[in-house]
């Protein structure tokens, strides 16, 4: 008999972006019972965010395959805990209907990446969003109706974000890429090998004709009273004030490693370590996509399928499909690594925050409150930086760049959840606690 709040599956997949959906569909195609959990309210992850019933063309086939696959999709489910249990793996998730536990012999971690931020004075003003964040809201129906907008930061996501902003009505004033022209020229060889991707990254796509693209420029300050009204931009020598109501500012992506770290998977160079079959260091746990290092949607799709087949016990490295997946993965990963070098952050960005500029937005901790002599633990204890609801996901990479702090510990819950969801369902005699080894 089914217990409420408990799901037994062969394969549980955390994250329903391209990697997770590809993994779930692949495992289900091998006849496995699959449960797919995601924090969003519809599958597709960040890159495939869309209005209800309007999935982007690139996503349609896979999302249709998911709908027809028999995979149990748990949407609006924040996975906050995971552990070994009775020879299987268990995940606990907070859902609108209460706590849900999923038990499975195999896990696929497809937790994606989040946007990385580089603080400047005024970055907490309403109207300042991430480049990916702004793009997601535009894809979901935000219309800017001629309002002035600036896209800034770094990386291959800026130009698609700019194109999306323009498509949704923004009066796009500038696209500022902090990397200098000479770095961008390093992409020239990529033009030959991956013209589509490289053109998109260089901003030469049709959607962007006429957009004022300024490599070597960055936002030094966001200004406004109550909301964003203008930005001060610079190339290190000149300065300009640009009026705008929206600033979409992002500095690339960082992998979401919290769940993998909690489970105990080996991590190296800021990514989950995996072998050719996307197996992590722990038996039964696979990982795919940005969690294995940021490399984009093509890597995610190939790795997701490999991980799903491997989790189903159906990975045959010598099959024609496997060889083609491995090639696709290698191509996408090579591209990802080159992009990272091209868009390395310039040191001037580290000098932008003033003593009053916030480093930690959850706890309102300004840069001036952090003694550069402190380590990560002292900073936490003295200022509460990283102890708010985002659990250091926003300020962690910032503190690492500015102060060399490494956030390498996690504990349950790895997402902020309501207290009632932490409690294991009892026998009706009142709330009970998780087992002691687990507290």
């Amino acid at each position: 008999m089914a217990e409420p709040g408990f799901i037994r599956a062969d394969v549980a997949v955390a994250g329903a972006g391209p990697a997770g959906v590809a993994a779930a569909v692949a495992a289900a195609g091998q006849g496995r019972r699959v449960c797919l959990l995601d924090e969003g309210f519809r599958p597709g992850g960040q890159i495939w965010r869309h209005r209800p019933g309007a999935a982007p063309p690139a996503a349609r086939a896979l999302l249709a395959a998911l709908a027809a696959s028999g995979v149990q999709v748990l949407a609006s489910a924040s996975v906050f805990d995971g552990w070994r249990h009775d020879g299987a793996w268990r995940l606990a998730a907070a859902t609108p209907g209460g706590r849900v536990e999923v038990q499975a012999a195999a896990l696929v971690l497809a937790c994606g990446a989040r946007e990385q931020f580089a603080p400047f004075p005024g970055w907490t003003l309403p109207g300042v969003l991430g480049a990916g964040g702004g793009q997601a809201l535009l894809k979901e129906g935000l219309e800017l109706r001629g309002e002035p907008a600036v896209v800034a930061g770094s990386g291959p996501l800026l130009l698609p974000a700019a194109a999306t902003a323009r498509k949704h009505g923004a009066d796009l004033r500038a696209v500022l890429e902090q990397a200098p022209w000479r770095s961008l020229l390093a992409m020239a060889p990529l033009l030959a090998s991956r013209p589509g991707k490289a053109l998109q990254a260089l901003g030469l796509g049709w959607d962007l004709l006429g957009i004022p693209y300024r490599p070597g420029w960055w936002v030094a300050e966001a200004l406004g009273s109550g909301r964003l009204e203008q930005v001060r931009i610079t190339d290190g020598r000149r300065e300009l004030l640009l009026p705008c109501r929206w600033l979409f500012s992002g500095f690339g992506l960082v992998p979401n490693l919290e769940l993998g770290r909690l489970l105990g998977c080996a991590i190296g160079a800021g990514a989950l370590q995996v072998d050719g079959a996307q197996r992590t260091s722990l038996a039964g746990i696979h990982a795919a996509g940005e969690g294995c290092g940021v490399a984009g949607v093509d890597a995610a799709l190939a790795e997701g399928r490999i991980a799903g087949l491997a989790a189903a016990g159906a990975w045959d490295a010598d099959s024609p499909e496997a060889r083609s997946l491995v090639r696709a993965r290698r191509r996408a990963r090579t591209m990802g690594a080159r992009m990272e070098a091209i868009f390395a952050l310039r040191p001037e960005l580290l000098a932008l925050p003033r003593p009053g500029t916030l480093a930690c937005r959850c706890e309102d901790v300004p840069f001036g409150a952090i003694d550069p002599a402190w380590g990560a633990r002292e900073t936490k204890l003295c200022t509460r930086a990283g102890m708010g609801p985002c659990q250091g996901r926003v300020c962690g990479p910032i503190l690492a760049r500015h102060f060399g702090h490494e956030a390498d510990t996690v504990r349950t819950p790895v997402k902020a959840v309501a207290l009632e969801q932490l409690m294991v369902p009892g026998n009706g005699s009142g709330p009970s606690c998780p087992p002691p080894d687990h507290c």
Partner: protein
């Protein structure tokens, strides 16, 4: 396609579409103060993907991230503003 509906934001009716992100509906309605920070600053969505918790609002008495909350007809939203 998504169907139009009305939600209530701080007691005021706001047009929205069923199933769209609540954060989109609030930004469209001109809301700039989703939550108040610890020191009382107005905050609005930053990451829009559930990571930063800057878009926390109350929906029917529950604290939710507006970017991860689908619009339902008649939902009652409280911002701090």
């Amino acid at each position: 396609m998504s169907e139009p509906c009305a939600i209530s934001v701080d007691g005021r009716p706001v047009p929205a579409a069923v199933g769209e992100s609540l954060a989109v509906a609030l930004l469209r309605a001109g809301v700039t103060a989703f939550r108040a920070s610890r020191s009382g600053q107005d905050r609005a969505p930053l990451c829009a993907m559930g990571t930063c918790y800057e878009c926390l609002v109350q929906v029917d008495g529950r604290q939710v991230r507006a970017c991860l909350e689908p619009v339902r007809p008649g939902m009652e939203v409280r911002t701090h503003g």
